[in-house]
């Protein structure tokens, strides 16, 4: 069976999603997209100045990518909805990553407000991907409200701490029948591979690439890691055992004919 990732009715070629904030130079963005193969690209609406003819981050995003505006800066559902509508009105398409944060110390998403925004925006025809605090019940409610995928964090955004929420994310991936995209906190390609190995549908990275010494090379590394992790998941790794398994077992004679 072919291994397809379908979100919002579209087949997604790459299981690596890329964020565009934090780059020291926006010229790096198309290079990172190319090196990693990423197709879904998220952009903070708050950073886009649609009223200027000056250079704008949007012009660095290749036309064949799927643009996913995010609602960074929204502190409640109502603000997230307004930002999403602004993005659509400005020609950014129907995809939206909902980000509702009202704790600026750790930037942890507020699931309750996020769910309200999902509900409203799905009804308005958006393809909605909520960034969320990992929680099975909240994820089910978002699924039932029509979210196209859910995006739990691996660790607080920008921390590069890796998949600290492994247990819950794995349960979500097993239980939801909806793509689970690990978004935020992933610092190294090996951690992105780990997300994929436990069954995540995709990984979204930004800080780890944008603040790397060589962002383009790091983007390529993440692209490969995500592919490798997915392959490993599909290949069903052997069981983890407590003791080494001898290739000539001591009890083998019992089963000999």
């Amino acid at each position: 069976m072919e291994d397809q990732l379908i979100i919002g009715g579209k087949e997604i070629k790459s299981r690596l999603f890329l964020g565009t904030g934090k780059f020291g130079d926006d010229h790096l963005i198309p290079k990172c997209i190319e090196a990693s193969g990423a197709q879904i690209i998220t952009v903070a609406m708050r950073r886009i100045d649609f009223h200027t003819s000056q250079e704008n981050m949007m012009q660095y995003i290749p036309k064949d990518c799927i643009l996913m505006p995010n609602t960074s800066g929204a502190r409640n559902a109502e603000e997230a909805v307004r930002i999403a509508r602004l993005g659509r009105a400005a020609g950014c398409g129907d995809w939206v990553k909902i980000e509702v944060v009202s704790d600026n110390k750790y930037l942890l998403p507020d699931n309750e407000e996020t769910l309200k925004a999902v509900d409203t925006l799905v009804k308005e025809g958006f393809t909605v991907l909520p960034y969320m605090t990992p929680d099975l019940y909240a994820a089910r409610r978002m699924r039932d409200a029509g979210a196209a995928a859910v995006m739990p964090f691996g660790a607080p955004i920008g921390t590069n701490k890796g998949l600290r929420t492994r247990e819950v994310v794995q349960i979500m991936a097993e239980e939801l029948d909806l793509p689970v995209v690990v978004d935020a906190g992933i610092g190294k390609p090996s951690e992105a591979a780990e997300c994929m190995e436990i069954g995540a549908a995709a990984v979204l990275v930004n800080t780890a690439v944008a603040t790397a010494g060589d962002p383009v090379r790091m983007a390529a590394a993440f692209g490969k890691a995500v592919q490798a992790g997915r392959e490993a998941f599909l290949a069903s790794p052997g069981a983890v055992r407590q003791y080494a398994e001898a290739s000539s077992p001591l009890t083998g004679f019992l089963h000999e004919a």
Binding site: G21, K22, F23, G24, D25, D26, M45, R46, R47, I48, D49, T52, Q54, G73, R75, E79, R82, I83, L86, S102, D103, N104, K105, Y106, L107, G158, T159, N160, T207, A210, T211
Partner: protein, 375 residues
């Protein structure tokens, strides 16, 4: 509960004694903790942290934390002085009401022209400033200016006299989303000597104003002490404590600090700063703030020289002013008044942007989407 209750706890704490006893090893221990306490912050402000290898370690960690939390970007903003009429007699300030400088206040027509000029410069974040005179520049005047300026910019911060919570709310509705007020000095005993008369004379009113802005829903609240008025280490510690107090109580508000160093000004000839704040002190303060509060925004104004500001990019600073004038108007018109203080960095927006790019950082002109545009 007010920050004053926290301040009182530290007022009689033997800060000097503590700072003197800190060793370089103590600083390194504090730096390695994943969650740093107020005393770890104080430790990082000790003289011992200026030993070269310790300060370098603080700077390296600060750079990493800043890049992870904010990215390789610097947000630019520009000040717009609406008026310089002032009822205070602050002994160190060029706007002191006893100084015979030219006073003026922009008309709505002039505000419109300034807005257009700022728009042409490209920056979408501004800070509007006045002297402290409720009668010359009442809250309604500030609201009228805001309604005009929001046509041209995306984020408007106020730096004016203390208002009531209701008035902060009214301006928020008009389109203001940021608040800046410097306590100048947290030293309660020194404060009235430096601010002998005028509305700013009351220490408590000023101390509690940032909290009122948080209550009114402002997105960013920027604090600061005017470094040089008292021991900069104590002032920095108490500013950090003020930030921590607000962050814990109002997690939805972005907290920022500035580190203004006292500058020469017209008419301020008799005042001599009590404390000489050196470049290394500013670097220590910035990196201590960053290591203590990784998500704290840090603002640097054009009081500092281009060379020093260039070096601070990457050390922890996240916001810089550009194209600054401290005279009333000045973006669209030739200045017709004297400035509040002398600025050291005269670079325009394009020159500032180039300098930021040269450091491997991206200058950001817009990082806010106003949602109350039609409010």
């Amino acid at each position: 509960m007010s920050y004053y209750d926290v301040y009182r706890k530290y007022k009689h704490f033997p800060l000097e004694d503590y700072l003197r006893k800190v060793t370089a090893a103590d600083v390194e221990r504090s730096l390695q903790k994943s969650c740093k306490s107020p005393l770890d912050f104080l430790t990082m402000l000790a003289p011992a942290a200026q030993s070269p290898h310790v300060l370098e370690e603080m700077a390296q960690r600060s750079k990493r934390l800043t890049e992870h939390n904010f990215g390789r970007v610097i947000t630019l903003f520009t000040p717009l002085y609406l008026a310089n009429i002032c009822d205070n007699a602050c002994v160190y300030c060029g706007f002191n009401c006893h100084n015979s400088i030219k006073r003026s206040k922009l008309t709505m027509e002039e505000v419109e022209q300034e807005g257009q000029a700022i728009r042409a410069e490209g920056i979408r974040h501004i800070i509007i400033l006045t002297g402290e005179s409720r009668r010359a520049t009442p809250p309604e005047y500030l609201a009228d200016c805001t309604r005009i300026l929001k046509k041209y910019v995306d984020s408007i911060c106020i730096e004016v006299y203390s208002l009531t919570e209701e008035e902060y709310r009214m301006l928020f509705q008009a389109g203001v989303d940021g608040f800046t007020m410097f306590q100048e000095t947290y030293n309660e005993d020194l404060y009235p000597q430096l601010h002998p008369t005028g509305p700013k004379h009351d220490y408590r009113t000023r101390l509690d104003s940032p909290e009122l802005a948080c209550k009114a829903g402002y997105n960013t609240v920027n604090l600061g002490a005017l470094l040089g008025l008292d021991d900069w280490r104590k002032e920095t510690f108490l500013t950090g404590m003020h930030a921590l107090y607000l962050i814990k109580k109002y997690p939805g508000t972005d907290c920022a600090v500035s580190l203004p160093r006292i500058r020469p000004c017209v008419g301020g000839g008799n005042y001599r700063p009590a404390c000489n704040v050196k470049d290394i002190d500013i670097v220590q303060a910035i990196t201590a703030y960053r290591n203590f509060l990784p998500r704290l925004a840090i603002t640097m104004s054009t009081r500092e020289t281009p060379d020093f500001r260039n070096h601070l990019i990457g050390l922890g600073v996240t916001k810089l002013s550009a194209g600054s004038v401290t005279e009333v108007g000045g973006h669209a018109h030739a200045p017709k008044t004297d400035g509040q203080f002398e600025i050291s960095d005269q670079r325009n927006v394009e020159e500032m942007s180039q300098a930021i790019r040269k450091c491997g950082y991206q200058p950001v002109y817009k990082d806010w989407e106003p949602l109350r545009r039609n409010a």
